[in-house]
């Protein structure tokens, strides 16, 4: 600590180069680190000084990390890189276990993307969170069926039809009032600022009143889609639907669940539908397996609900309600979900006949907690899906009342 802060000579410029390599390593590992960040890092290291490894760590941390889920990646990268900066060259020449052997540290599994970044073989460009999620999820039981889905590509004609259908879509509760205003000659409120500016433009004499009204906007949409075996014949259709909605408007979050919950929002943002579907199928491992609705929704409530349901979101829950755990623990979880969103819409695509009665235990557990129940008897196309969603809304909770066993 005796050396003054802001050491002028950075070990003959070696530190600068090393900082640059470190920044490049982070970027290769998928963190958004640009030249601006690198400059900020140099400036920050100058300000703090090179006295303490811990301070150095937290200095770089403050500059490079800007999301919580990047911390783990940064931590590993820091320790691997700054123990021996030339590990990059070494790692290129050597296989991974050997490089780790001579460190004598407890052998922590290196994050795969970091390993790829250090080896220079990286070709994957997935965001950080997904990888970590997969790592954490490897402890699930053997019950789940891991398989990759294979979808045929969408034709141009289908694509244009989808766009048309989507333009017709009116979700129940499509628009809500915001607390902002927009100019409107027939609006109910006077816009004083605009009035005064107009008055000046007019010169003296009468002051024409300018008016405004409250702006409306669609609430955020959160889609929770079941991709278990019983739903598999519709998976492709739903993927197309979710992709179209994601690209059509902002604030859409998409989660897929079967035996585990996967956030696929970022993959679906790819403009091209085939690229998006490819990425989603690459990220999801539980296509057409079993369903654990309760567990997946509990995880959603705990990890995501406060982050994506914050601004009065509408939740679209797509599932047939057939649960492997026979609805156990599903009721309270559904209730929590219902209470933390503006409106919960359940779309059930597997009702084949008119005289349907919700008999399965899973359905019975879900039904008391949904605002809208939208069964579809034969879901043939995107437009029939959108038609089902666009039927006018009832009042909260009442809309699903007729389906409840003890409606009276």
């Amino acid at each position: 600590m005796a050396r003054p802060a802001g050491i002028p000579e950075f070990e003959g410029g070696r530190l600068l180069a090393n900082l640059m390599y470190f920044a490049r390593t982070l970027r290769a590992a998928g963190m958004p680190v640009g030249p601006g960040r690198l400059l900020a890092a140099v400036e920050a290291v100058r300000a703090v000084g090179l006295t303490d490894r811990r301070d150095f760590y937290w200095t770089l941390h403050a500059v490079f990390v800007n999301r919580r889920d990047q911390r783990e990646l940064f931590d590993q990268a820091f320790h691997i890189f700054w123990r021996n900066p030339r590990i990059l060259e070494k790692a290129l020449a050597m296989v991974l276990p050997q490089t780790r052997m001579d460190t004598g540290e407890p052998q922590v599994e290196m994050i795969k993307r970091l390993a790829e970044a250090l080896h220079g073989t990286g070709g994957r460009d997935e965001p950080a969170e997904e990888q970590i999620e997969l790592d954490a999820a490897l402890t699930f039981s053997e019950r789940e069926l891991l398989q990759k889905a294979d979808f045929e590509q969408m034709s141009t004609e289908e694509l244009s039809l989808a766009k048309q259908a989507l333009a017709r879509m009116r979700l129940p509760l499509m628009d809500v009032k915001t607390r902002r205003f927009t100019p409107d000659p027939a609006g109910p409120r006077v816009d004083m600022r605009a009035t005064l500016r107009a008055a000046l433009r007019n010169g003296a004499g009468a002051i024409p009143l300018k008016r405004r009204r409250v702006k409306t906007n669609h609430p955020p949409l959160v889609i929770l889609c079941d991709i278990s075996g019983s739903m598999s014949r519709y998976s492709r259709l739903f993927l197309h639907f979710m992709h179209a909605v994601t690209n059509d408007r902002d604030r859409v979050h998409t989660f897929l669940f079967g035996t585990r919950l996967t956030n696929v929002t970022r993959y679906l943002r790819a403009k091209d539908i085939d690229v998006a579907v490819d990425r989603v199928t690459g990220a999801v491992d539980d296509w057409s397996g079993g369903t654990r609705i309760g567990e997946c929704l509990a995880e959603f409530n705990r990890r995501w609900s406060r982050r994506v349901l914050g601004q009065g979101a509408v939740v679209l829950f797509i599932s047939d309600g057939l649960d492997r755990a026979a609805g156990e623990g599903l009721g309270p979880v559904m209730e929590r979900l219902h209470k933390s969103c503006r409106r919960l819409i359940w779309l059930n695509p597997l009702l084949r006949y008119e005289a349907f009665e919700p008999k399965s235990l899973g359905m019975k557990a879900i039904l008391p907690h949904v605002d809208e129940f939208r069964p579809v008897h034969n879901l043939a196309s995107l437009s029939s899906l959108i038609e089902a969603l666009s039927r006018p809304a009832g009042r909260r909770l009442e809309a699903a009342a007729e389906w409840r066993p003890n409606a009276a």
């Binding site: 958004p32 960040r37 301070d55 800007n66 915001t178 914050g310």
Partner: protein, 307 residues
Amino acid sequence: MPSSPLPVSVDATAALLAGQRYVADRSLATAVFLALKLGRPLFLEGEAGVGKTEIAKVLASGLGRRLIRLQCYEGLDIASAVYEWNYARQMLEIRLAEAGSASREEIQRDIFDARFLIKRPLLQALEADAGGAPVLLIDELDRTDEPFEAYLLEVLSDFQVTIPEIGTIKAAEPPIVIVTSNRTREIHDALKRRCFYHWVDYPTAQRELEILAVKAPTAGEALSREVVGFVQGLRKMDLFKQPGVAETIDWAEALMQLDALTLTPEAINDTLGVILKYQDDIQRLQGSEAQRLLEQVKAELGGQSVA
């Protein structure tokens, strides 16, 4: 208020925070030091009740600066965050000018004058202050909507505000900006990029004991240890909302009000509402689960004192 100079090192920053009875990690002190030294905003994210807002208050009093607080909410607009024109006075001015037969240009020049400008927190923060640049706390940014976030970009990167009628107002000395977020939604990368980021985590048991010793000094050593052990145990459980540091302090104080010298199952059941704020969590913990955790904590503490 006499303003003190900015700290010159990470150690000095830690000492400054400690002097204001704020127990900070080395990592937080580093981030605060960088923000002060390089004049960039500090972006603090973390669960509720881990002391994010407190940092701004502590910095303001420690450095002898004015604290300007902007509480964010949905629909926060320029009129309530930055500035507003005093329309009534402007109208009056127009009438007076007409009576005095002023020319149109004169009116235009006069009416959008700084005299008619009502300054709101962001504009106030850009004003020069005798005691040095103020501390600007933009609290719970995640509660406002994206348009306001976008507006902040200009303020946070160049410390300036553009008023169409007047022009650009730039701060002579940039304010010390602290932005906090509870992460009820993700803040856009463009805004985070302009700041130093720090995730304020739950403290370790040792750190939490230090905090209790500072914030609730009258609680006995034994009670503090048990409270911290119990809360740390709770944070390992799969709860909907884990208790923050604020809850720990509140709980210690509540237990003292009930004259508890050590934790007992009854005392826990009576005061569970202080640390857990969701009915599901409370139900889950009431009775046997709380007792199990308490026994575990006591066993651990017993083992510590023997060793």
